[in-house]
Amino acid sequence: MSPNRDPNRSALIDTALRVWIILCFVFVFAPIAASFVFSFNSDRFPTIPLGHFTTDWYRLVVADPLVWSGLWNTLKVAGAVGVLATVLGFGAAYTDHRHDFFGKQAYLALALLPPTIPAVILGLAMLAYLSRLTLSGSAVSVIIAHVVICAPFAMALIRLRLSQMDAALEPAAWNLGATEWGAMRHVILPFCAPAILAALFITMAVSSDEFAVAWFVSGLNETLPVKVLGFLQGQVSPRINVIGSFVFVVSIGLVIAAQLLMAGRGARPYEE
């Protein structure tokens, strides 16, 4: 994409657009930056002017066994959700890619609809339903609910990757004598590997930040974002910012990993 010397290009407009882009980023990152700053601020309530620099809130968070158990729950849940949602999402994406069948529209709607239902409603429905199955109040119920929400994300990512694949590749493998399972193992899965890993990370990230549904169904096994909600509703405490910053760093790690994997091997044929 060479800079084209177009008479229609105006330096003024280009600059204005760049300034606007920067302003949008400022808006989006202002609260994130603020919460970072306040996580190191001595005052319990975030007000201006700032107090002095302190790491006390970090120390309190580290010393709180409930935060650790919340973190443990979050990791446990996120890990299980990542694997399950990615497996289910892969299956659905592959089905959409490979097959045309009666009711496919309904199938796809079902596969993609859950993230559009507001979390408050989904949480309410899940709690009422799962408690009838005596599944509520456990890490399992959080996993169940999060897979429902996350599988569509995994499906969308993997579907995108499959659409970049040469449609003749799989039949070619069959022609060379590979079974369907063989082609899956030696052609499809390797090709999708970066998207599968990306889906794994992104579903884990979504799960580790979801609080509304998790609050309803988690019972005593609260995840970290549910604890943050508790801190916000109960004792307002800079520990919100500490945990927020921590979750931020972890999510960023996962996203960067996903990005590198997508860009590393996967995106090359596409980027050309």
Binding site: I32, F38, V228, G244
Partner: protein
């Protein structure tokens, strides 16, 4: 390709289907049943009581909250779309490929950052003694009441939806056929005319879907109305929580929830219909 279901094909197709039916469709169906249950002495008892629907649908405060929520979410989604467009336009059409990748990457970050924490952080900017009023005071203005207003709710809605809207717009603008733009330029169409008559129509589906997602996110959000709006005006998400406070009125809360789902589905269908009808023209 082939239509006959095989064990191989079903292995991939069925797990998601089963999961979503058991853990998504059935809970929603249960919500429908719950809306007919009766509450007695803090206990929710199975019943076929249509009274809950009557109570909610005949209450003025429900329709008021309904109107407020719809209006706020629509405004939020409109503002997000309008603010996002020049940004997405710049990212998609003006930046180099490398800068664009970075811009997109940066926009993904807030999507995975705790929304609760971000909304809470806005309080410091918006309060009477907060950062914005502090800056204004230097210039001799203010203080203005910013927190606990509908405007603050919109700020929260933007926090929630703007990154997503920008990303979706970037993706749809990236796929606009550049030869169309050049053709318009060659025909001496003005810049604005090119944008409105060539670029927006060809990216229409993406733009509408982005606005729809913003609407969906805002419509169900309870964090912004509570923590930035100060709990007023009452939105449907607040009304749901309030309803449960008269001795476990989950059935009535379910009625409100079902009305919300109905509204979202109708809005989604209308938006998708609008998007594709426009695209075909």
């Amino acid at each position: 390709m082939r239509n006959r279901p095989t064990a191989y094909g079903l292995t991939f197709a069925l797990p998601l289907l089963v999961w979503q039916v058991v853990f998504f469709v059935l809970p929603l169906a249960f919500l429908v049943a719950l809306s007919f249950f009766t509450v007695r002495n803090f206990r929710v008892l199975p019943d076929l009581n249509p009274g809950n629907w009557g109570v909610i649908l005949w209450r003025q405060v429900f329709w008021q909250a309904y109107g407020v929520t719809w209006l706020l979410s629509a405004t939020g989604s409109l503002i997000a779309s309008v603010l996002a467009f020049p940004c997405a336009f710049g990212i998609a059409l003006k930046l180099s490929a490398n800068s664009r990748r970075w811009a997109v990457f940066l926009m993904v970050i807030p999507f995975f950052t705790s929304y609760l924490v971000r909304a809470y952080a806005w309080q410091v900017f918006l309060s009477d003694t907060g950062i914005i009023n502090g800056l204004l005071a230097w210039t001799g203005l203010g203080p203005y009441a910013l927190l606990n207003t509908p405007g603050a709710i919109l700020v929260g809605y933007l926090t929630l939806s703007l990154p997503l809207v920008i990303l979706l717009q970037v993706f749809s603008l990236t796929y606009v056929d550049r030869s169309l733009i050049e053709a318009a330029h060659n025909l001496r169409a003005g810049r604005l005319r090119t944008v409105f008559e060539v670029i927006i129509p060809s990216a229409r589906v993406g733009l509408v879907i982005a606005a729809l997602f913003a609407f969906i996110l805002c419509f169900g959000d309870f964090v912004s109305p509570v923590y930035l709006g100060g709990g007023h005006p009452t939105t449907l998400s607040i009304l749901i929580t309030d309803t449960t406070k008269s001795g476990q009125q989950w059935p009535r809360a379910a009625v409100i929830a079902l009305m919300m789902i109905g509204t979202l589905l109708a809005t989604a269908f209308a938006a998708v219909h609008f998007a594709y009808r426009g695209a075909r023209r």
